[in-house]
């Protein structure tokens, strides 16, 4: 089980961080045909919690970045489909293969997000593959910024 050394997040932090993941899942269900909805939901949650503790912000950022990646993939598929229906594009094997790959990536991301939501709620610090590394770059823990103060619930920064 992955934990942050010397820091135990409070129940409220765990709940907020976990909700960040759940937020993107609910948005997936609502905005299935419109990829932008998922990103908007994650973005709203991120801005709503940007003044929260580092732990909450870190997980909100990870959710946001994962949604951004999927948004790029889904937007290509969405615009391709639109041009197929309304434009002069024809149905090809490349299109069908792209849609299958897109669905596969969405499923992987969906499962990873559910898993992250559950494990985060249990108190784990879940770093998803690629998105975790990227989040560490965007939202580094205080100690990595040469802050020598110990991480405690009383002094999370």
């Amino acid at each position: 089980m992955s934990r942050i050394p010397g820091y135990t997040p409070s129940e409220m932090e765990l709940e907020k961080a976990s909700n960040g993941y759940l937020m993107s899942l609910i948005a997936v269900m609502v905005g299935m045909p419109l990829p932008i909805i998922n990103l908007l939901a994650s973005l709203l949650f991120y801005f709503g919690n940007r003044n929260s503790t580092w732990f909450v912000r870190w997980h909100c950022t990870q959710t946001l970045l994962s949604q951004l990646t999927v948004l790029v993939i889904n937007s290509i598929g969405f615009s391709w489909t639109i041009s197929l229906i309304f434009g002069s594009t024809v149905l090809t094997n490349d299109y069908i293969a792209y849609m299958m790959t897109m669905v596969a990536f969405n499923i992987v991301e969906f499962i990873a997000t559910i898993s992250a939501a559950v494990r985060t709620r249990r108190g784990e610090h879940v770093e998803l593959w690629f998105w975790g590394s990227l989040t560490n770059v965007v939202c580094p823990p205080p100690r990595w910024r040469n802050d020598e103060r110990p991480l405690t619930p009383q002094n999370p920064y």
Binding site: I85, D94, I96, A97, F130
Partner: protein
């Protein structure tokens, strides 16, 4: 940062590999997707054609049908157009021709009476056959009525939807790009079939001159915007020094003209003006 970059490149590589691998399967052939779409189009075409036969006066005259089929076959000989295009002559004074789903081509008698040569008619027919060959018809219906409506039509369809399809196809324009594509198709296939594309340009020029004062029945022009620009584009596409042969004999053309004129009365003053304009244009480009 290096770790994130490496993982990003890995994720992109995995995505591309999965996509490339899956694209090697021929889904279109396995699931017969092309045939499914053609079958749907054919069903819609039959439904629409039945309605037209019920509501309009479709001329079932063997002598004119043979002549129209001769023009169609000549156009097809210069292109990859479907071989099963059915040409229908409808008794109506409007200057109009339009393609329907399922490879049906409707020509109003009013259009034939406005043409001064078989090559002019052949040009317009080649343009419409271009829309059929390039799948513009079903794409346009899909974009204007929605794929779901078309799917419901294929399994029956109601009168209002069929009427909407006829109205859409007979009285409104294709997208500008599609019109240009159909023009290019027409010029190209006419040249390959050794039919002078000049007739098409002459007819378009004639229509462009009339566009300033469009009567209501001139639907073919009003639905095809920027006729003047199109004339220029058509003339640019025409290659010099082509050797052409007539599409019909003079006798065949007169049979067709008489059959059309007997069924489509026209306003005299605009027709006379038309004749003088087209004569001038033809003389200039001969």
């Amino acid at each position: 940062m290096e770790k994130a970059l490496f993982q990003f490149m890995a994720i992109v590589a995995i995505f591309l590999m999965v996509w490339f691998g899956l694209s090697k399967v021929d889904y279109v052939r396995i699931f017969r997707l092309q045939n499914m779409s053609k079958r749907t189009e054919k069903k819609i075409g039959e439904l629409v054609m039945r309605t037209i036969e019920r509501t309009e006066d479709v001329i079932k005259d063997d002598s004119t049908q043979v002549i129209l089929n001769k023009i169609r076959d000549r156009i097809s000989s210069g292109s990859n157009a479907p071989t099963n295009i059915q040409v229908h002559l409808v008794r109506k004074g409007d200057v109009n021709a339009f393609a329907l789903p399922g490879n049906h081509l409707i020509i109003y008698t009013g259009l034939i009476t406005r043409c001064d040569s078989a090559e002019e008619l052949c040009g317009v027919m080649a343009h419409e056959i271009g829309h059929i060959t390039l799948d513009h018809v079903i794409k346009r219906l899909g974009s204007e009525l929605g794929i779901s409506v078309l799917a419901s039509m294929a399994s029956g369809g109601n009168t209002a939807t069929v009427a909407q399809v006829i109205k859409t196809l007979s009285s409104s324009a294709f997208e500008r790009g599609q019109e240009s594509e159909a023009d290019a198709f027409a010029v190209n296939c006419l040249q390959k079939a050794r039919v002078s594309p000049e007739g098409f340009a002459v007819f378009m020029n004639k229509m462009a001159k009339m566009q300033e004062d469009i009567p209501k029945q001139m639907e073919w022009i009003s639905s095809h915007p920027d006729s003047r620009n199109r004339v220029v584009a058509i003339r640019d596409l025409i290659k010099e020094n082509g050797s052409y042969t007539p599409v019909l004999t003079e006798e065949e053309w007169q049979i067709l003209r008489r059959a059309a004129a007997a069924n489509a009365p026209l306003e005299e003053e605009s027709f006379e003006e038309e004749d003088s304009e087209s004569d001038t244009t033809t003389a200039v480009h001969k």
